[in-house]
Amino acid sequence: MDPAQVDIDLMSRVAQGEESAFPQLVERHKTRVFQLAWRFLGERTEAEDVAQEVFVKIYQVRTSWQPSAKFTTWLFAITRNTCLKILERRRPMVSLDANVRSGDETFGRQLADANMPTPAEKAFKDEEAALVRAAIDGLPAQQRMAVLLSRFEEMSYDEIALQLQTTPKAVKSMLHRAKVDLKKKLRNFLCI
């Protein structure tokens, strides 16, 4: 069955009071929600909180849910909003230079590397990952979200525009600016 239809069926059951359908929905989408939040916020605990909050909100408003849009459109809209709230909350506490992150946070990330790398390889990979993270972190919030939705969720300009409540043209220009910025920041690591 079409995954979008599976979501609609599950959410309809939840909306009708079938609580047991909800864990299935959570299971289907928890990783995407969490990873989007993590990439956007760069902090694991906050990303987990966001993911929980998103599913709690969905459950709270289950009875007013209408299957008029894709479930994931709704899901990502709530994820984005929840992430932005976290950013607003922590704004006074963080450095204005978004590139500056604590070493622990940047280097403490798990690298999905099944083969045991040599220390030199690991150091290189860590550095590479940290550089990418810093480059993503350095993008303005709206651009950052556009990049994540395009790169990791493979959304079209139209879909991103819906999420960011803007026009596809604005999304295109946002992504182009982000790509120029990323290229500039990552260039030294590229083997060209």
């Binding site: 928890k30 694991r44 459950y59 007013s64 709530i78 990418v132 990323l182 590229l190």
Partner: protein
């Protein structure tokens, strides 16, 4: 060699976003221009390099944690209202009960005063009145209000149930928790506002009934 295209055009070329003519033009240029080829490669590779930002994996207990939070928090609308308005509801209830107690205390105080005054007024006039009036008209207020009362210490005031101003407190309280209500919570908020208003109404009706009961 013609001039190099702007970065914007190179990005549109990468996205297959150019008209067929422009596409051919850029393609021809790139084939003869190392600098533009390097630029295109840099755009492509830096975009691919984002994959290095490997996100962690959620722990296995996540879904259970969500479900247990839902069970703890209990989310039927009435419970949501209770959760959000908890402190306000309890305050309102407390204030309302206090009002009730004060009414009762105030009235019993007044009755005690009246009772203590009975022997002080002329018993014969009371007796006359009792005989002259039918039984149902024998309300203490009717008989005593006409009588001159001696100077006594001011009786405990009878408290009127003033409507408790819950609405102005409650509504901003709700609004400030709903910064993303445009997406999901409009309906929710409306329902709650309606319930608060209904509660106010019920409380007022209750108060009137209590007063009527006491008065009769």
């Amino acid at each position: 060699m013609n001039t190099c295209p702007a970065q914007e055009e190179l990005l549109e070329f990468l996205d297959n976003d150019l008209s067929p003519q422009d596409n051919v033009r850029i393609q021809a240029h790139v084939e003869g221009c190392a600098r533009c080829r390097a630029e295109l490669a840099a755009f492509r590779l830096s975009w691919q390099m984002l994959d290095k930002d490997v996100a962690p994996v959620l722990g296995p207990g996540f879904t259970d944690a969500v479900m247990s939070r839902l069970r703890q928090e209990d989310f039927p609308i009435s419970k949501q209202l209770k959760n959000r308005l908890g402190p306000v509801l309890w305050l309102s209830l407390g204030a309302f009960m206090l009002t009730g107690i004060l009414i009762v205390v105030g009235l019993s105080g007044r009755q005690n005063i009246e009772a203590s005054l009975r022997p002080a007024v002329e018993p014969s006039r009371q007796e006359e009145a009792r005989q002259a009036l039918p039984l149902e008209a024998m309300e203490p207020e009717n008989s005593f209000d006409e009588l001159p009362l001696p100077e006594v210490a001011e009786p405990a005031p009878v408290m009127m149930p003033v409507p408790i101003p819950v609405a102005p407190v409650v509504l901003p309280f709700l609004a400030q928790t709903d910064s993303d209500r445009e997406i999901i919570e409009d309906l929710d908020l409306f329902e709650k506002m309606e319930m608060v208003q209904k509660m106010e109404l019920l409380k007022d009706i209750d108060a009137v009934e209590v007063m009527e009961e006491i008065a009769s």
